[in-house]
């Protein structure tokens, strides 16, 4: 059997890679790609905890389903914002979108 730790370490690795993407990418859409990786790491954790604790209690899977809904909502709104900004300022580089900075 695969030990629980394998799943957890893999998901930690995915989370870290996603975090790196969020912090270091210039393009706003690429940042959202990184966030997707992080959300997936969360889902892997949820489902593996469900499987390794008490499979008759399905809560872990329900949480994962809710995470799907949240991820979809996040992507929809996030990308809509990027497109809207692109239309007004003609850029998707996060550093240049500094209207709210001051």
């Amino acid at each position: 059997m695969i030990p629980l730790s394998w799943y957890l370490i893999l998901s930690a690795a995915l989370f870290a890679i996603g975090l790196f993407g969020v912090l270091s990418r210039k393009n706003a859409i690429a940042i959202l790609l990184g966030i997707e990786l992080m959300l997936n790491a969360v889902n892997i954790n949820l489902v593996s905890f469900w499987r390794y604790n008490d499979p008759t209690r399905i809560d872990g899977q329900v949480f994962a389903v809710i995470v799907f809904a949240v991820a979809a909502a996040e992507v929809a709104v996030g990308l809509a914002l990027v497109i809207s900004v692109y239309r007004r300022r003609n850029t998707v580089v996060a550093d240049e979108i500094d209207l709210m900075k001051w």
Binding site: I17, G18, S24, L33, I44, W50, Y52, Y86
Partner: protein, 179 residues
């Protein structure tokens, strides 16, 4: 009994391959310059996650992963990339100046998480065996809809989706006379 253990080894091999592919493609997602390629690598990672869900006996989640992430979210990403690009390929570096700092932070986070996990005694626990009649889909269905369990999150999810739909459509919609 011996036969059972061999299946487990097969599972471990599958897990190993999937994990390697996932980590590799995830690194490609955050480093590739070409955004379409990044999105395609993300799809590979997401597919790997679907495989992992299948190894965890969560067939429903695995299929949903493909339907929602690959079938809808990835396509939305590709559409958005197409909408915000005027020439093929990215110009200039894809990473910002402080990328090495982000790399250090990511490594620290990964190290910290593994270090935390190491001290936890639930880690080596074996997964409980599932009976042949165990039906996680039916169980999930009943739990999600039944009045004693998750009926409120079920309805709240629809409100969340409604809010996302209205908000995103309002933001992205190009009103007449604009540009």
């Amino acid at each position: 009994m011996e036969c059972r253990e061999k299946i487990m080894t097969a599972m471990q091999i599958i897990f190993g391959i999937t994990a390697a592919v996932m980590v590799g493609s995830a690194i490609m997602v955050v480093t590739t310059k070409n955004l379409i390629h990044a999105a395609l690598w993300l799809i590979v990672t997401l597919f790997g996650a679907a495989v992992l869900f299948a190894t965890l006996n969560a067939g429903f989640i695995a299929v949903i992963q493909v339907v929602v992430y690959i079938g809808a979210i990835a396509i939305l990403f590709i559409f958005a990339i197409m909408l915000t690009r005027r020439e093929k390929g990215d110009t200039g570096p894809g990473l910002n100046r402080g990328w090495w700092l982000s790399a250090v932070i990511a490594v620290v986070v990964f190290g910290g998480l593994t270090w935390l996990l190491q001290g936890w005694d639930g880690l080596s626990k074996a997964a409980p065996a599932l009976g042949p009649s165990f039906d996680s889909v039916g169980l999930l269905a009943e739990t999600l809809v039944s009045p004693e369990a998750f009926v409120l999150p079920f309805e709240v999810a629809s409100v969340l989706l409604l809010a996302a739909l209205v908000g995103a459509v309002y933001i992205a919609f190009q009103r007449k006379g604009e540009e």
